[in-house]
């Protein structure tokens, strides 16, 4: 293990457990978060990501385990004693205070001189471009503006760690995309270490430098968005992040640099090795956009299969085909609409071939 409190291990959870009565919400979570990175906890509702965040904030006391900030255990500190600030899901702005007072709330608790508070609140209002709204009450602002006030309030005290609970959850879809980049820009400008919780994989992938995929209180995989997407370590992660086709079978070729899995459809070749024994049950994950589709048989040696087009869905920028093979397996294939006519010749009930390169598939071992 790396030395405690180094830049790579700025915020560390060690065997963190939270039990509510008999239910385990967070189960032995070990994470190392780097200084200055945006780290996302991604999972569906009830996976324990919010409980984990609330433990970092201090609203829940861990049943066992440690939370280390620069090597110091903060797990038993009260929320008002930690250098962590949180941006709440529905912002939790104080309705009886105006925007200026909301942002000043934390600074006033530190007993700073009035002139310092004045200056810092001014900076924060500038940062989120809300200076003209300083004297408004929260309910007089739009959702997007309230979100920026919440961000300014949580950054005002220069926290060592910024916690974001579903930061874009309360915004509508169009506003979300725009705010996503704005939020990342501000966080990067400030340079604060940031832990965010989200159930939206797109949000996690665009905003975070690294993602921890959680399920049932456990962390299944930690990695950059590319790693998690291209090299999912488990069936759950492959399925949770984006769309995926899963082919079950048994390991039929086991070489250091390549392998193959025999499925009901035929043998599927993969250009990476796995640690395991022949005949071990394995699954192969292939992303729909990595599969090609055509009416003519391609010249490739491996991973070529035949089927019948059962569904076509037009999404504007891409098409999705559902192709059924002879043995009944339904495979999802997406093709980008790069020109206006290219794939339009494929239609319902057409007999087609689909294939993918050896490097497209990933073997999953659970």
């Amino acid at each position: 293990m790396a030395e405690a409190g180094s830049r790579d291990n700025y915020l560390v959870t060690e065997k963190l457990v939270k039990r509510f009565d008999e239910a385990v919400a967070v189960d032995e979570v070990n994470l190392s978060i780097k200084q200055g990175e945006i780290f996302a906890l991604l999972g569906s509702s009830g996976c324990g990501k919010s409980t984990l965040l609330r433990m970092l904030a201090g609203f829940e006391t861990p049943t066992s385990g440690r939370i280390l900030l620069s090597g110091q255990d903060v797990a038993r500190l009260a929320p008002y004693e930690r250098p962590f600030n949180m941006m709440f899901q529905s912002y939790a702005l104080f309705p009886h205070l105006d925007i200026w007072e909301n942002i000043a709330f934390g600074l006033k608790r530190e007993g700073l001189p009035r002139s310092d508070i004045q200056q810092r609140v001014g900076e924060m209002l500038d940062l989120v471009q809300l200076t003209p709204y300083a004297k408004r009450k929260p309910h007089q602002l739009s959702g997007g503006q309230q979100q920026r006030v919440a961000l300014a309030r949580s950054l005002a005290k220069k926290p060592k760690v910024l916690l974001l609970d579903e930061p874009l959850g309360a915004l509508d879809k169009k506003l979300r995309e725009q705010t996503q980049f704005e939020l990342v820009n501000i966080i990067e400008k400030v340079g604060v270490t940031c832990v965010m919780v989200t159930h939206d994989q797109e949000e996690a992938m665009t905003m975070a430098g690294r993602i921890a995929v959680m399920s049932k209180g456990r962390v299944l995989q930690v990695g950059s968005p590319e790693e998690v997407y291209e090299h999912p370590s488990s069936r759950f992660v492959a399925d949770f992040i984006g769309n995926v086709n899963l082919f079950d079978g048994r390991l039929s070729i086991d070489q250091p640099d390549h392998c193959a899995v025999a499925t009901s459809m035929g043998e599927i070749h993969v250009s990476h090795g796995v640690s395991g024994a022949l005949n071990m049950p394995s699954a192969i994950a292939v992303r729909p956009e990595k599969i090609e589709i055509n009416r003519e048989r391609p010249t490739a040696d491996h991973n070529v299969f035949a089927g019948k087009v059962k569904e076509i869905a037009y999404f504007g920028s891409y098409n999705t085909f559902i192709v059924q093979t002879e043995d009944g397996k339904r495979v999802k294939i997406t093709e980008a609409n790069t020109s206006r006519h290219e794939l339009s010749h494929i239609t319902w009930e057409d007999d087609v071939f689909f294939w993918w390169s050896d490097s497209a598939g990933v073997v999953l071992r659970d």
């Binding site: 904030a57 201090g58 609203f59 009260a78 929320p79 008002y80 962590f84 600030n85 949180m86 709440f88 529905s90 939790a92 702005l93 104080f94 309705p95 009886h96 709330f105 934390g106 608790r109 530190e110 009450k137 309910h139 309030r153 949580s154 005290k157």
Partner: protein, 305 residues
């Protein structure tokens, strides 16, 4: 947000019934009271005279009923009358009662609002349970507790904490105890209704920003429950000013409250016009500050904005 729209006849009915009720049982009696307060005292057969002169038929307002409230006839100065004293005393005791109810009711309401949702109906029931017993019986019960031979004194004597009974009944203390006891639910219910709606995340946000639990309570919970505090305070203060039964049963003989004065004028002196004038002034004393307050702050239910 879409507003609930009632159809026109439905709306008329819903607004009309309470309006008619208020006009018949509140506005009309008040106008009668106002009328009597401006006429001459009558005799045993009719307690007041008509407002027009029986011979000339002209309107004749008798302002003396009001004048005598503020200026005593036996040489005392302006405002130095037993009536003014009684008003001041009534308002003072009503204020004390409201403050006591607030001090006792706030932690209690807070406790109910923060308890497990499954427990709340039972706790609220406990607040309302006393209403199932007659109000008079409950006030009489306090006599049994506070009297010289009462439960409290006997217990203290038995424990050897005192050697002779303490005079508790028929004092200001016993009266305040009785009033606070009776009016406490009127403070607890609006406060509870307000506190239970409060978003706990606002408190978490305050902690997160460095506020200690006490600071968070003082800077977030209290300001946000302002509407509940005002509503509860008014619900206790207003009826307490005119309270008649509790001071008569538990209060001392020397500290006459305005309710008692009105009673005496009405039934002992048989001076209906003065009793009416006293009542009108009392209503004015309560309604005017209230109206001014509402004018400047708006509806207290909206005060949190």
């Amino acid at each position: 947000m879409a507003k609930l729209k009632l159809t026109l006849p439905g709306r008329r009915f819903v607004i009309g019934v309470p309006s008619v009720w208020l006009v018949v049982f509140f506005m009309l009696p008040f106008l009668i009271l106002l009328y009597i307060s401006f006429v001459d005292m009558g005799n045993d057969i009719s307690p007041f005279k008509p407002i027009w002169d029986s011979e000339t038929g002209l309107l004749k307002l008798k302002y003396e009923n009001y004048y005598s409230i503020f200026q005593s006839s036996d040489g005392g100065g302006l405002f130095q009358t037993i009536y003014i004293e009684a008003y001041v005393r009534s308002i003072w005791y009503a204020l004390c009662t409201a403050v006591l109810c607030l001090v006792m009711g706030y932690p209690f309401s807070y406790f109910i609002a923060r308890s497990a949702p499954s427990l709340r109906p039972a706790l609220l029931m406990m607040v309302m349970l006393p209403f199932w017993t007659s109000f008079l019986l409950r006030v009489y019960a306090w006599k049994g507790i506070l009297a010289d031979q009462g439960v409290l004194n006997q217990t203290l004597l038995a424990l050897g904490l005192i050697t002779e009974p303490i005079q508790m009944l028929y004092t200001d203390v016993s009266m305040l105890v009785g009033m606070t006891y009776v009016y406490l639910p009127f403070m607890v219910l609006p406060l509870y209704a307000n506190l239970v709606k409060m978003d706990i995340r606002l408190l978490e946000a305050a902690y997160d920003l460095g506020a200690s639990p006490f600071k968070a309570f003082w800077l977030v919970t209290v300001p946000l429950s302002k509407a509940g505090i005002i509503a509860g305070f008014m619900l206790v203060f207003i009826p307490c000013v005119g309270e008649f039964v509790i001071p008569s049963l538990l209060g001392g003989p020397e500290n006459i409250m305005i309710g008692r004065v009105v009673w005496d004028e009405m039934f002992t002196s048989n001076n209906w016009p003065r009793a009416s004038a006293l009542a009108v002034v009392m209503i004015g004393l309560i309604v005017v500050p209230l109206a001014v307050y509402y004018h400047f702050t708006g509806d207290p239910a909206e005060a949190r904005h």
